[in-house]
Amino acid sequence: MKLIFEKSKKGAGRLNVADFSGSTLPSPFVPKDLRREEPIPLPEVSEVELVRHYLKLSQENYGVDSGFYPLGSCTMKYNPKINEEVASIREFTELHPLQPEFTTQGALRLMWELAQYLKEISGMDEVSLQPAAGAQGELTGMLVSQAYFREKGEERPIMLVPDSAHGTNPASASVSGFKVKEVKSDNRGLVTVQAIREVVESLGEDKIAGIMLTNPNTLGIFEKEISAVSKYLHGIGALLYYDGANLNPLLAYARPADMGFDIVHFNLHKTFSTPHGGGGPGAGPIGVTKSLAPFLPSPILRKGENGKFEFFSPEKSIGRMKFFYGNFLILVRAYAYIRTLGAAGLKRVAENAVLNANYIQERLKEAYVIPYYQRCMHEFVLSCKKYKVNYGITARDIAKKLLDNGVHAPTIYFPLIVEEAMMIEPTETESKERLDEFCELMLSFSKAIETDPEEFRKIRNLKSYGFDEVDAARNPVVKWSPEEDN
């Protein structure tokens, strides 16, 4: 489809936004050495053409509203429309972040209450709503850890991360100044005290700042040894960080704090139904235990004596992670979600998420290999390795075949510890019918591959498939250039 820039026509774009008849360029108000002479080459399209452009683009995009979207690790649950409606109330959208606090008490109440709910759900003692996404939550947690150890006068340069971890974990740890050491999962896919102890002992107990875990882990399996792990690590003075991407199956069932975690981030765009927005914006609040609370980013909220809500800076705050207070309009949606469901509702979310994942796993376990097969939580990972070895058909091929059948593909090639991985997370907002459709497709593929792999491989030749990503990266074109139009 043509780019909006290629649809530009001189003089066509005259949206009725501003009436200015003064002279245009150069502007007399600008210092001479900075004055712009020529307008910026932005496109000029009429309003109707703009509408058609984005209408078409949207139709070429697949979202949860289009159909099943079992993208593992991403919790692509339904985004309730009422949450969109309440987040567009003008008394929220029009607020300026620097208004006096007495004019923003509604916003502050909402944030304060949301923080209470997140504390209750996670068992943590204090919450900061500032981080913009899960990864920024991780980063915040890591910086809090740094500040914590600095305050204690300890130098602990190493952060442990299991081999099954999401890439943001090691990246966040290292960007915050830690050295990352990997811990191997055992043959059940689990992190054990044993494995941790080996790494710790080789590096020195007092060098270990902590570990970043998600639980259930990225295989969708609950880390059974977690209590032992936290006991051991706390014993050597280290901290446990909980990557909340996988919190959905634990809602109202188990709490990171009870497992011994010291820091947790929440992905509101996963567990709490706020839209993924094609890659963001999300929100990644973090919760911490009492001893870490003084280090939280600034500002956080409290309810004053007079019942008024007010911001304050925690005593030993690491400072600020971003402008203002967090992705407020996303917080509004998550708040609305929690108020809609209540405690019993959240529990049903967890139950149905786990039910749906196990159901698919059971239906596919014979046709596909599930390397760490056991009762899963909200997701599981199968491997297409046998098809690759036997027929040269990859997880990617199967993913594309799913797309070709009108279903979004699961996450592929993650976690790294499973070859030809396909990570399937249906979420609780899908019905048995949709799961069955998906299973039938997957089962039919497995049959098709074994009957006629040649035919199956033709998915690679489908004209709309197989963008040449290697060439795209070798000769990157990352923007439109005016020259193209000539």
């Binding site: 489809m1 780019l3 949206l15 108000f29 600008v30 050495d33 900075l34 307008p39 910026i40 932005l42 496109p43 703009l50 209408l55 078409k56 683009l57 949207s58 995009n61 109330i89 008394e91 929220f92 959208t93 972040p97 006096p100 509604g106 913009a132 996404a133 920024q136 890591m142 991360v161 890439g167 990246a171 069932y253 839209p275 993924h276 094609g278 890659g279 963001g280 914006p281 400072g319 992670m321 971003k322 402008f323 407020f328 309009l329 108020r339 019993a344 509702g345 049903r348 139950e351 039910l355 159901y359 059971e362 979004h408 963008f467 040449d468 990266a473 990157p476 990352v478 923007k479 439109w480």
Partner: protein, 454 residues
Amino acid sequence: MPYIPNTDEDRREMLAVIGVKSLEELFATIPDELKLKDELNLPAPMVESELYAHMKSIAMENVSFSGNRNFAGAGVYLHYIPAVVKELVRRGEFYTSYTPYQAEVSQGLLQAIFEYQSYICALTGMDATNASSYDGSTALVDAVVMAKNITRNSRIILLPFVHPQAVEVLQTYNIGLHLKIENIDADENGDFSIDELEGQLRGGDVAAVVLQVPNFMGFYPEGIPKIINLAHNYSALVIMSVYPFVLGSIKSPGELGVDIAVGEGQPMGIPSGFGGPLLGFIATKESYLRYLPGRIIGRAKALNGRVGYVMTLQAREQHIRREKATSSICTNQALVAIQCAIYLGAVGKDGFHKISRLCEENAHYAYQKLTQMDGINPLFQKKALFNEFALEIQGTGNVDAIYNALLVRGWLPGVKLGKFYPKYQNGLLLAFTELHSKAIIDEFCDDFEEVLRN
């Protein structure tokens, strides 16, 4: 149960397939002692109509000021957002999708972001940008990290009046970055000495000189081309943080020789939303493309020659590079970027420049009127301004009284500087947009004058 489509019947059938008797049994892998015994202590659930009423009543505990009665800026501005922007960005196919891992079913989003990148490059005069950073402050951090990695130097020099919150964020990230962050101070009138800057640069090991245009106080730092030259002479990069609409009136950062341009994209079609979600943009020269953090969308060819778009250069990112990645960003601000792109398409070349010029005109008109009043001085004299400026309200404590009196009259009269700079306790920062017509400004100034007199 809201949002859960399965029925009891479905659940029974599914449990039978799995071979367990109850939902609880599915949770058997969680050790008993970790299982929550009590129900969570959360407020009772609400049906949709109750929820709406509840949310509306919370919203009404706020006092909101529509764009034309709102003079607060300081990083977030209430420009007008055309209806077409809001309608298009709310298309379900966009907002319920995620990162376009599967390019074949995500061409809409991918092209929209490719276009966003093109817009940002056009505005900044740069060659490359990413699919968004969290906000303007983290974009500045991203730029600093880039400069560090490009130059392998470790000093960062900040010119006066970079957004104080952005500086705070940089300082926080610096817990992990271990850079030396140094400030050039401003004198009484907000100026700084270029000799001092040169002195600092001479020390060597400077990764970047950072400046903001217009700066937090709303004026253009003097001698920008000179500053850029100087930094380059000492092999330091120049990072310039910009207010998007100023780009309509000044030469682009690219043209000026800036190495990395960053900024907060919110003014371009994004609601103020109590400060979030915002939109960080970061753009640079072609040669630094691979140093950019976060997602980048690139053009690609399909088998049949069809041109499309994919996520490209992923080898930089956390999911591939893991602990060697220079940023951990994953979820970014994609939908905000698209909203910004739709906005720029909506206002177009003509509209963008009109808005840009109106911001200037309106601010200067107001500046004239306000600084003539008794009891008000410009905080800094004889500055070249864009759309924002700092005033000094004479008399200790007067600023609070006057601020509140104007609030009562339904104006949000800017932002008090005291919370950012204790030494400017009497300062007031006012921002102007295309919504502040002369008539509105006259009304505001009349009220201001009355309030001053009382």
